[in-house]
């Protein structure tokens, strides 16, 4: 396999490139990022290419130039705008237009046979009448009032799905939220505060994905020949209150109508990424994605529990304990 990976400078991208290049069946990775220079040295079998995916000409040159030159046969597309506070045409261009352009170029490409699109479990609609266990046929969130962050992801997801059935083998991975720093995780940002407010009287079930499991799933999808949509759940399924307890935060239930203004004020004053309107439904109604299809066809089974964000004093204690045991 010779793979092209977009979004290669994100934590997920870096981990994926490392995994692919250390495997026996991947001889070369063309890592694509927005930064002019790679943020860290890569292995010998990695070629870094700076590319602005919002420009059609650059995408054309990437797929019809570099990809041909390096004999790329698999494309893993993960470049998405992570910040929820940003909106507008430029953000849409990266989230949707770039995906369309990339897919269109790959469809006509002589050597590229497989396209893996990293999508998000947030595209599923969560309501009181939806199931607690969401399979790939579950209803999608077409709420026109939803933030652009969500609408863009849904549009990109459906656009890729519209290309099923052609010569290009396409896999769309609807991943659970990756709970890790710098991954655009809403929950990570929510838990970064010492006090976590949650809706009074509601404690829905959540599923979170570890970075290692996300890499495992994407690698399995890149190697597989199966096409279609695959839900990628994580190994941790637990209630919101337990998530807050795991991170040793103060859990304060607050009547639902007060939460939007409180978190809006927090964003406005401190510039946090967490948006309550984006998380309102999943903070009320349980919705865990069902990974049966990925398990059956891709052989993906989540096995890595997430590393919960810890308080500084707890990290310090753990390090002290480690150093003591090493000295012993």
């Amino acid at each position: 396999m010779r793979a092209l990976v977009t979004g290669a400078t994100t934590p997920l991208g870096r981990a994926l490139v490392d995994t692919l290049t250390s495997s026996n069946d991947c001889s070369l990775v063309l890592a694509v990022g927005h930064e002019a220079k790679p943020v860290r040295p890569w292995r010998d079998n990695v070629v870094y290419r700076c590319c602005d995916l919002t420009r059609g000409r650059e995408v054309h040159d990437l797929i019809c130039g570099d990809a041909v030159e390096h004999g790329i046969d698999t494309v893993v597309h993960m470049a998405q705008h992570r910040a929820t506070r940003d909106s507008g045409r430029k953000v849409h261009a990266l989230n949707v237009t770039a995906t369309r352009e990339l897919l269109s170029r790959c469809t006509d490409h002589p050597a590229i046979r497989r396209f893996v699109h990293r999508s998000f479990a947030e595209v599923y609609a969560l309501e009181h009448a939806t199931s607690d266990l969401l399979d790939e046929d579950a209803a999608l969130d077409f709420d026109p009032e939803a933030p652009q962050w969500l609408r863009d992801r849904l549009e990109a997801d459906l656009m890729v799905c519209a290309h099923f059935g052609g010569t290009l083998q396409i896999a769309v991975l609807r991943c659970a939220e990756i709970l890790a720093a710098d991954s655009g995780s809403q929950l990570w940002d929510y838990l970064s505060s010492r006090v976590c407010l949650r809706p009074l009287g509601f404690d829905p079930m959540l599923n979170v994905l570890a970075l290692e499991d996300a890499v495992t799933a994407i690698t399995a999808a890149a190697r597989s020949t199966h096409t279609g949509v695959f839900n990628i759940p994580g190994a941790d399924t637990l209630p919101l209150s337990r998530v807050i307890a795991e991170t040793v935060r103060l859990d304060i239930p607050v009547p639902g109508p007060f939460l939007a203004p409180l978190y809006g004020l927090r964003r406005w004053i401190a510039g946090f990424e967490f948006r309550y309107d984006l998380n309102l439904r999943r903070f009320h109604f349980g919705g865990v994605i069902d990974g049966s299809r990925a398990r059956r066809l891709l052989g993906y089974v989540p096995s890595h529990p997430v590393q919960w964000p810890r308080a500084w004093w707890r990290l310090l204690l753990e390090r002290l304990a480690d150093s003591r045991s090493d000295a012993g």
């Binding site: 009181h128 009448a129 939806t130 199931s131 607690d132 266990l133 969401l134 399979d135 579950a138 809706p199 009074l200 009287g201 509601f202 404690d203 829905p204 079930m205 599923n207 190994a235 941790d236 399924t237 637990l238 209630p239 337990r242 639902g256 009320h284 109604f285 349980g286 865990v288 069902d290 529990p305």
Partner: protein, 266 residues
Amino acid sequence: MDSSTFARLTRQAPFHDAGHGYDVFGLHPPTLAAAVSAGAPAYDWYFRVDSQGIEHVPTTGAAILVANHGGVLPIDAAMMCLDVLRRTDPPRIPRAVADHFVPRLPFVSTLFARLGVVSGTRANVRALLEQGELVAIWPEGVTGPAKSFKDRYRIKEWRVGFAELAIRYDVPVVPVAIVGAEESWPLAMKLRGLRVFGTPYLPVPATPIPLPAHYHIRYGESLRLDGGAHRKLDDPDVISNAATRVQVALERLLDETLRMRRGVFR
């Protein structure tokens, strides 16, 4: 909390842990064990539940319990679930299927989820049957508790979705007659204008607290609805006939239980 109940439910009851001690629907066996202990006085002393035919409930594998429904609040459902939990060995956790508005109710939605109740969607029930769970369904839905006192123990509306799933997954259906609930806490009136949290109406009970009616729970022989019908699952008549078969069995069971009881409070 009764330590033996806690041990039975947390160690012996089959449970699909999705990590952290909860299943994907939110069931938490220690909370369930606490609820079983808390409900014991109501079961043993207040309603003096009398149960027959628990041997008809399969000890393993997927099955559907189909019961009649009545009373202002689902006390009948709680008593039936308690009965199954206490009388099956190893204990089977009945996964009660609730109406769509339940997840909108603050506190109730969370408590119900921890006790194993799931929202009544096809995908939820399908997932439970695939896991080999014991699913409890009240096909009358909200029309059961909404009945007037003169219509007690008469089945008004009968939804058929359970029959399709029973045929599709080839699981046994056990009819369960619950007698006592409709006299225990009859409905005085329905305030349809007050639809709080999506509930179809606000019930006004005839008495401030439930009366200590003597509960009788009777499990009928399990029914297999397949009979080769799985080839015609898309035929509405096949599903409707299968559902009617269960309804008739339940009505017969109800009539027998009503005939056998000595009085409402005795």
